[in-house]
């Protein structure tokens, strides 16, 4: 069953590559949150109930509901709908992006098999590393600030997935990953992104170029 959830998570990364609608991106983030909940429920069977409830709240409530709803509101307020309408266009076409995603996935599966050991679930590892790398690529190729945030949350989800992969032996790592999420949600999204959206009305990162030598 867990393999199915991991596969769906991997498919969601491919879906990010072909989609052009910001609403779809945000919905995908919500779906990833729910999938992380299901994967952790199946994967972290050695943890205590209190710990599992904590992980459940973090994935289902935070990643699955609160963050997507917040981002939908921001996107609505800033009229960010379809990336084809952006002033600052994406630097890579959809076809090349899906090709890149495939290559990254093949590379991470190869890497996972190379590093295989008793404590590593190769499927989770490959999917997690793909999410991290694709998140970084999305940040580089997009100039839109809202998309930067979405890309960063994809990286976050990848890191959380990795933490789940080793969570039975090291619950401290899962706790720390949760801490990272809370930090990002409160500081990056809650405080500064809100202020940025208020002060700068254009959504392109080109507006943030006053500071230079």
């Amino acid at each position: 069953m867990n393999a199915l959830f991991i596969l769906l998570f991997a498919v969601s990364i491919f879906y990010f590559s072909i989609s052009v609608n910001v609403k779809t991106y945000i919905h995908l983030l919500g779906i990833q949150g729910v999938l992380l909940f299901l994967i952790s429920l199946n994967g972290l069977h050695e943890l205590s109930y209190v710990h599992l409830i904590f992980v459940g709240l973090e994935t289902l409530l935070f990643k699955g509901i609160i963050i997507p709803v917040y981002l939908l509101n921001i996107a609505k307020k800033n009229k960010v709908t379809n990336i084809k309408n952006f002033k600052a266009r994406r630097k890579m076409k959809g076809f090349y992006l899906i090709l890149t995603t495939t290559l990254v996935f093949v590379f991470t599966i190869f890497l996972g098999n190379l590093l295989k050991n008793d404590f590593l679930n190769v499927k989770i590892f490959a999917t997690a590393i793909t999410a991290v790398l694709m998140g970084l690529i999305f940040i580089v190729i997009n100039k839109n600030i809202t998309l930067h945030i979405i890309s960063f949350i994809i990286i976050e989800n990848g890191v959380f997935l990795m933490a789940i992969a080793i969570g039975n032996q090291m619950p401290m790592m899962v706790n720390t990953a949760i801490l990272l999420d809370l930090f990002v949600s409160v500081l990056v999204l809650g405080v500064f992104f809100n202020k940025l959206a208020y002060h700068f009305h254009d959504d392109s990162s080109d507006i943030l170029s006053k500071l230079k030598d």
Binding site: N117, F119, V159, M170, M172, M173, L180, F192, L196, D213
Partner: protein, 468 residues
């Protein structure tokens, strides 16, 4: 005692939020600084005998904690003068002072942590508090810098966390259930080198944002540029030390394994590139604050190079960090006076020596010290770095590093001389010159750097030697 320190910090920060009087708020920060200094002395006295869960510190922790305790107090004094001149609102001072205490606690946590996960969490806390401290003046340009800083730090710290996760996979293979430095060091030889190498790469890239080295240095420069100058001083000194310590802890654990030579190569490449980028960016720098920020980048590069050179290099690295912290913060405090007198720090400002002779002298001596000219302490550490480079037979690198340092030397000295001795182009208010307390504190910092350069202080050397 550590928990008492944490409790006092919470009490002071919490009380500041309830107060309406700026003077009492500053008094509470000074009180906290005193407690921090006493706590550091206690750590020094109990070194080697004190055992605390999650916080098993060593002599390097004590050295950095001392630097933090001293510089934090000096920065707090300068901040009071800064906000007084700017006539900041009570709310702004309230937020700043409370978060300032949090920033100190986070840094102390980084220095004292004995586990990688915990160290990472405290580094994360420095981003949270540091970003709030930068966002002091609430201008659009500050918001731009803060946004870039927060975003780049978040991405970097996440990458560092990936590195820690990879390290934990390797740790599980040898039966470890936590990432304490001592346990990892004991099992280092049995761990899988491929996992360790990939972990090191992620950790170096992740924490580079705090050190201001390649590849994530840009946002650090912007942050130092727009932050109030006492905060710029702390970012250039104690935060840089924290970033270095995060990388050093990994190096310390695995420098006896088969990946040691590979780590040294990576560090050397990273350090040399940082040095070159610093020199290149300095060529087109347009304000004095950024100039000194790039100078910090240059020194961070030198320290990373030193770390790659074995035991003698590690000694040089810690000496360099100590002297650099003292001198660079002194220079940033002096930059604050230039800003006050000239309403900015653009590179076209001239005649500062005629405006403020004492401040001008301090800037001159500080700049000569930061360039590593004798009798500055940085001369000793740079000499040790070059000695180690030559002993390791890095002849070509020595030439390249000297070339980069010459460019930096020329640009910095040219701009400082222009600022000090070219005729002034505008009128100035003499009553905005530095106060006696400001000048004396800066004098003490510059003097300390010269003192350590002339007299070999055995406390300092013993502390560093004990850790390496």
């Amino acid at each position: 005692m550590l928990y008492v320190y944490f409790l006092i910090a919470v009490f002071c920060a919490g009380s500041i939020f309830l107060l309406k009087n700026k003077k009492i708020m500053h008094f509470l920060v000074y009180g906290f600084n005193l407690v921090q200094l006493l706590f550091t002395i206690y750590l020094f006295r109990e070194l080697g005998s004190l055992k605390m869960a999650f916080f098993n510190y060593d002599s390097i922790s004590v050295l950095f904690a001392f630097i933090l305790a001293i510089l934090s107090f000096v920065a707090a004094v300068h901040y009071q003068i800064y906000e007084d001149n700017q006539q900041q609102s009570i709310r702004t001072v309230q937020i700043h002072n409370a978060v300032y205490i949090g920033f100190n606690v986070a840094l102390m946590g980084v220095y004292l942590s004995s586990q990688y996960g915990l160290l990472w969490a405290f580094i994360e806390a420095t981003t949270l508090t540091g970003a709030t401290l930068i966002y002091h003046d609430r201008k659009k340009i500050v918001l731009e810098a803060v946004w870039k800083y927060v975003f780049a730090c978040s991405v970097s710290i996440t990458l560092a966390f990936v590195g820690i996760l990879l390290l934990s996979v390797s740790a599980q293979e040898v039966g470890l259930s936590d990432l304490s430095f001592q346990l990892l060091k004991n099992s280092a030889l049995q761990m899988n080198p491929i996992w360790l190498k990939s972990s090191f790469l992620f950790i170096l890239v992740g924490f580079s944002v705090k050190m201001g080295i390649i590849p994530m240095f840009n946002v650090d420069i912007d942050a130092k540029d727009v932050a109030p100058f006492p905060i710029g001083a702390l970012f250039s000194s104690v935060l840089l030390n924290a970033g270095f310590l995060a990388v050093y802890r990994f190096y310390q654990m695995f420098h006896t394994t088969s990946i040691a030579s590979w780590m040294n190569h990576v560090l050397l490449i990273s350090g040399v590139l940082t040095l070159f980028f610093a020199a290149a960016y300095l060529l087109k720098v347009k304000n004095y604050k950024r100039m000194y920020a790039y100078s910090s980048m240059e020194h961070a590069g030198l320290v990373i190079i030193a770390l790659s050179l074995g035991k003698a290099g590690v000694l040089a690295a810690f000496l360099h960090l100590t002297f650099h912290s003292i001198v660079k913060s002194g220079l940033f405090f002096q930059i604050g006076q230039i800003m006050r007198l000239n309403n900015g720090v653009k590179i076209n400002i001239t005649g500062y020596f005629y405006q403020n002779p004492l401040g001008g002298l301090l800037l001159l001596f500080g700049s000569l010290a930061i360039l590593g000219l004798p009798p500055s302490g940085l001369f000793i550490s740079e000499l040790l770095i070059f000695k180690s480079l030559l002993l390791n037979q890095h002849w070509v690198l020595v030439v390249f590093i000297l070339l980069a340092l010459s460019v930096i030397f020329y640009i910095l000295l040219k701009d400082v001389f222009k600022l000090l001795f070219f005729p002034a182009t505008h009128k100035f208010e003499t009553d905005l010159r530095g106060t006696a307390i400001e000048n004396s504190l800066q004098m003490v910092l510059i003097f300390l750097s010269i003192y350590f350069g002339v007299i070999q202080n055995h406390y300092l050397f013993d502390l560093i030697q004990a850790a390496i």
